[in-house]
Symmetry: C2
Subunit: 360 residues, 2 copies
């Protein structure tokens, strides 16, 4: 009862089915592929044997023979971010429509991990991959590195190479949301941004500035905080912007961050904040709630319950599922379209729209 050969799982092979049905493996193969040129009688015998043995086609062997695995890879930076889980759902939807399975991995924004995962996907002969690049070099994603295996970048554009990509209108969304704040009379608008090295961080900052310029305003650099990465850092930054008398340098070591309660904002404090993503917006919300100051918030990325927080909130929204679907469509086109080098890369930009939540 021990395993005979390595890799023998005991599962019946096409050979077993063929023997039982009294035909050759070729005939079994034809039946399974629904090839018409098989007599109804043998066809039935084969299917009966398949059923009796519980035979299942070995996709690995098939892939080896055919030179393609029928899988695509998806690499995201952070699946815990609802944005990326929606993206994944969109990718999966289109992929499965085309009979492709999805290998999904998470990088945690680590370039080295991304490199390893890309290697693994390539080694597994995926038909192509969709990558949300962690940032830094894209050298491991070039056609040269991947032998023209199709690659689509999502959320962030290729740098130093050509590739299909799907982006959101980061600039326009940030500009529109900021303009909305300006239209509501705000003149001192703070900026809570993710790292400028990340594409969204740069573009959304550009949008923030553009809205100011269009209104003949100059943003006050002292209200700008960039390089924020999570809820906690954003909350801290927001607190400091909104309550400058809380010393940046720890003057009173007794109660570091705890001097809360309703207070007047400082005279030069911002009257509104623009945040470049959902985590930063949440940090800002916490700060505003804790300090109880009347500040208007605007931010990128919609989120659940934004409408019932009971505070004025301007949100830049877009369709993350659709982004996944578009990325997958670009990829499938590329897969079915011959060598990747044959056509120029396409870039899709998803529209954003501004939503206004909360009390007037």
């Amino acid at each position: 009862m021990a395993r005979q050969r390595p890799g023998d799982s005991g599962a019946p092979t096409m050979r077993d089915v063929a023997d039982r049905a009294g035909v050759s493996t070729m005939t079994v193969s034809r039946v399974l592929k629904e090839d018409a040129r098989v007599s109804e009688a043998t066809r039935r015998r084969v299917l009966a044997a398949v059923d009796a043995l519980g035979y299942r086609l070995n996709a690995t062997a098939r892939s080896l023979r055919l030179g393609g695995s029928g899988m695509i890879g998806l690499i995201v930076t952070n699946l815990a971010n609802p944005f990326y889980s929606r993206l994944a759902l969109g990718v999966q939807e289109v992929a499965s429509q085309h009979g492709l399975s999805m290998l999904l991995s998470n990088t945690g924004e680590e370039l080295e991990r991304e490199r390893g995962l890309v290697e693994d996907l390539a080694s597994r002969q995926v038909a192509g991959m969709i990558v949300v690049p962690a940032g830094g070099s894209h050298s491991h994603l070039t056609p040269a590195a991947l032998r023209d295996m199709p690659v689509v970048l999502a959320s962030r554009p290729p740098s130093g190479m050509a590739a299909d990509c799907v982006l959101v209108d980061d600039f326009g969304g940030a500009r529109d949301a900021t303009a909305e704040l300006i239209a509501r009379g705000h003149r001192r608008i703070g900026f809570l941004g993710n790292p400028p090295a990340i594409h969204t961080g740069a573009e959304r900052y550009r949008g923030y500035r553009a809205a100011h310029e269009a209104a003949g305003l100059e943003p006050d650099d002292r209200l700008v905080r960039r390089g924020l990465t999570d809820v906690a850092t954003a909350e801290r930054a927001a607190r400091r912007l909104l309550a400058p008398e809380s010393p940046e340098s720890p003057a009173s070591p007794g109660s570091p961050e705890s001097r809360e309660g309703a207070r007047e904002p400082a005279p030069d404090a911002p009257t509104a904040l623009f945040c470049t993503n959902n985590r930063l917006t949440q940090g800002a919300i916490r700060a505003v709630r804790a300090l109880d100051v009347p500040v208007a918030l605007a931010g990128f990325d919609d989120f659940d319950l934004a409408d019932i927080l009971g505070m004025p909130l301007t949100i830049v929204s877009y369709d993350a599922d659709e982004m996944g679907r578009q990325a997958a469509r670009l990829l499938v086109d590329r897969i079915n379209g011959g060598p990747a080098a044959s056509r120029p890369p396409r870039r899709t930009v998803l529209p954003t729209h501004v939503i206004r939540y909360g009390p007037e």
Copy 2:
């Protein structure tokens, strides 16, 4: 320049490397596997050839030879639910620690789709799979159907078969949260539940009842709504429970659901609601906000910003990432432990804890 044989992607094979290095493929294989018994000189020549050719090992061929793909499958019902995306992240974390890649698919709670996906995974020779079963029959997950391929169920227990599984303490969590409401003086506690046919729907309802019994109370069946599936249905159910004078049957066809505004709750309306999952809790929150009635809420599943909604909220929380990690560990144990039938199935139950949010 056309492709010669089907499946010839033009990628160099081990043979090419061997030729260039003037050795046999076996030696190349040894070098790549870091087999010690290779002289440093040839080793270097081989690596040089690998580098020059941009050779990459073909994982498909390797899998065929070895009889295992180095992948595991994960099938969830709804990746858009943060709970399952965290689960996926936990699974991936442990999987990658063991050098396993993750094939992820979504069923949308459709049994037929689940069946197809399980077939596909089995066909791809995954080392094992973790499944959040959509409900209904589990016949496609039995050892017989899968030839003893390891399976771990997550979130919902096996029915009509034996299998490892990881669950949350649905009963205890619901009981504790309900008890908390009772301890705060609530006597009329409404129940908004997901379908009783789903394991969590049944267990959490049991917990709700158990808390009542433990306090010598009998829940009023008129306050119980089961079979709710999303935010919208939950909100509607909550509205009707909280404002019974809004007719269940449309008496005034003019303004169906729009008679809102602050109002007194009906005398026999519930003073608190227990909701069995995050979507239902959100529906209840919307109803409470819209009707502006003083109702305490309790619900399963923690969510972002729950703490700053400014309403009393009792949440049953648990670690979804950890659930994924545990499931993956069970699976890896099973994979490494020989035939699945050899040891009795294990069941892990994740603890829950009750969090109290909001004013008070």
